[in-house]
């Protein structure tokens, strides 16, 4: 069971023992292996990992947006406000989508309908959750655009997506996501496709929504800098498992898992190099395993500088190492 004790209130989103996989040529391939985490109301949890870590699949599975077939939820529960989303029928699920839990994606241009005006798309989003007369509807649309700090909202309402920049499109998508007054917002790499100066603004705005509405945010990202600046808690994923989990400042300041350490050491340009010599970045040897089922024991062991015999035999469990800080490693205690 989860031992995240930082959450004062009951978690608004509680993922327990999630296993995802797909079948190909008669064999089953696991993509996500026993993932559990909880999101407290008004908190931001970052799910961090590289390609193949399973973070996007995990995020998609919450609202059951997996490309099914062939990828399916094999086991586990996703509890939103006490209800298990994995067991809901299609109508009930539709109600949750956007209303209780909303999601925004990485590529703003492909998520907006190119032949509909922004205003119309927003009206549709609002109407999916509340029936309002036209005047009230327009007012609500305007309210949403102001919420996402859209410049010149009266003009934007009539514009079409292709006339907007990437940053503005992402704001529209956030507005659409907020239309249903969700309690949880899942943001899958929301700023990866945007310029870095625009990224700041978007994330500041998301953090503002957190403060204003108490909406909990699950941020999927590969960028540890964003985690440091915005997230309350972080869960590091590798090869379909969570390898470390805890408060962001704690995990990034004093990482326990060798993979987390490797990632943090791989970041370039953190401190100016003394004497003009380029520092050597930490390299994690090898590559992410392509077939998650093929690795025995700890999935990181083939690449781990600390790997020992027991690491190759059994996969370690996610256990509490310090207050609120969990790690799945046999060796982390050795390095202090």
């Amino acid at each position: 069971m989860n031992a995240i004790t930082e959450i004062a209130a009951a978690p608004v989103l509680d993922v327990r023992g999630l296993h995802l996989g797909f079948e190909s040529n008669g064999r089953r391939h696991k993509l996500v292996n026993d993932v559990s985490f909880a999101l407290g109301p008004g908190r931001m949890l970052a799910l961090v990992g590289e390609s193949g870590s399973g973070k996007t699949m995990t995020a998609l599975s919450i609202l059951r947006l997996l490309p099914d077939p062939p990828v399916r939820i094999l086991e586990g529960a996703v509890c939103f406000d006490g209800t298990d989303l994995t067991r809901l029928g299609p109508d009930a699920l539709r109600g949750v989508r956007g209303g209780g839990v909303a999601m925004i994606f990485q590529e703003p241009q492909s998520a907006l309908n190119p032949v509909m005006s922004i205003g119309r798309q927003l009206r549709e989003a609002v109407s999916a959750h509340e029936k309002l007369p036209r005047k009230a509807l327009d007012a609500r649309v305007r309210e949403l655009l102001e919420l996402v700090r859209m410049p010149d909202p009266d003009r934007i309402v009539h514009e079409f997506p292709h006339r907007l920049s990437g940053g503005m499109r992402q704001r529209v998508l956030i507005a659409i996501a907020m239309a249903g007054r969700p309690r949880v917002l899942i943001a899958d790499e929301p700023t990866t496709a945007l310029d870095v100066t625009v990224q700041r603004e978007i994330l500041d705005m998301l953090a503002g929504l957190q403060d204003l509405f108490g909406v909990a945010i699950l941020l999927i990202t590969h960028d540890l800098g964003l985690v440091a600046d915005y997230a309350d808690d972080v869960a590091v994923m590798y090869a379909g498992r969570i390898v470390e989990h805890g408060p962001a400042a704690d995990v990034l300041g004093d990482p326990l898992h060798p993979y987390t350490r490797g990632l943090l050491g791989a970041r370039p340009g953190l401190v100016p190099s003394a004497g003009g010599r380029r520092p050597r970045l930490v390299e994690i040897k090898g590559a992410v395993p392509s077939d998650l089922d093929a690795v025995e024991g700890c999935p990181f062991s083939p690449r781990c500088p600390l790997a020992g015999e027991q690491c190759r035999l059994r996969a370690p469990e996610l256990l509490v190492a310090r207050d609120g800080h969990l790690v799945s490693c046999f060796k982390q205690a050795a390095e202090t």
Binding site: F22, P67, P70, T192, V288
Partner: protein
């Protein structure tokens, strides 16, 4: 883009495509064996006219209005059809590829000029044009091949031009430009190999249409008078359609089966070159973000 081994495995899994391939190979085999199985002139009279297949005195598929062996005609006709089909598709392919790749690679006024020419050839109805060309020149197999090639190359040119335009912007082509590769070399070694898949599919479809055009021309009596073609056989049997419909039906079925077989092979090639959506989804699953490992 995919190893050869994978390609044939995918092709084999497609039953209709395999059936099509069997049909085509069979037709080719029969055509090749024609002189062995039915030596001599297919025009020669072998027996009584109007003999139905199955008749004890008749050869395997019966005789036509003049007593010629229909089976012999079918097999020798196969040679004509396949020859016309193959060579015209080949010439059209070569001409179209040259025009299309040059137009697509150089763009600008070269592209404009070449495309206007291509459009000029494309806007006239193909069968009619082939007919006119054959009627103007002495009707013979080479003339027919040329005529069909002339009306078919624009389609190839358009395709190759589109692919060339797409590939030209790729970084790997830019890389070759940066280390000094000549244009011709780039077109031949970098661009054309990447056009191969749709090109092969298009050429196979063209073979089928060429066979149909040839059948139409010979039906109208515009084919090589010295060669017995399926179209000619249908024409000959036309007057006896009500009583001895087999005379037209049998060569007609031969055309149908051959064209069907070729079309099945084309579809099979197309599917094998582009693994279907479902497979692509599976392959993409482990990498959902834009970053790469």
């Amino acid at each position: 883009m995919r190893a050869a081994g994978g390609f044939w495995t995918r092709y084999r899994r497609n039953r209709p495509a395999v059936a099509g391939l069997a049909i085509v190979l069979m037709v080719v085999a029969l055509g090749l064996l024609a002189p062995l199985l039915y030596p001599g002139d297919p025009w020669s009279i072998v027996g009584q006219p109007f003999l139905w297949p199955g008749d004890p005195h008749a050869p395997l598929l019966g005789t036509d209005v003049l007593g010629r062996d229909i089976a012999s005609g079918v097999l020798h006709g196969a040679r004509v059809s396949l020859r016309v089909g193959l060579f015209s598709a080949l010439f059209a392919g070569v001409i179209g590829t040259i025009v299309g790749s040059v137009a697509g690679y150089y763009a600008g006024w070269v592209d404009d000029v070449l495309m206007r020419i291509t459009e000029a050839f494309q806007t006239v109805p193909s069968f009619l044009t082939a007919l006119i060309i054959v009627a103007l020149f002495k009707p013979s197999i080479p003339t027919i091949i040329a005529a069909i090639a002339i009306v078919s190359w624009p389609g190839v040119a358009r395709l190759v031009r589109a692919e060339t335009l797409r590939l030209r912007g790729s970084d790997f082509v830019s890389a070759c430009v940066t280390f000094g590769m000549s244009d011709i070399r780039i077109i031949i070694t970098q661009i054309l190999p990447n056009c191969l898949a749709p090109l092969i599919v298009m050429v196979s479809v063209m073979i089928a249409s060429a066979i149909l055009i040839e059948a139409g021309l010979s039906f109208l009596g515009l084919s090589d008078p010295s060669q017995l073609s399926w179209g000619t056989m249908i024409a000959t049997g036309r007057d006896a359609l009500r009583s001895a419909w087999y005379m037209s039906a049998i060569p007609g079925i031969a055309i149908l089966v051959t064209v069907l077989g070729i079309n099945l092979v084309s579809e099979g090639l197309n599917d094998a070159f582009n693994p279907g959506l479902r497979q692509r989804q599976v392959a993409q699953i482990p990498r959902q973000t834009s970053r790469q490992a």
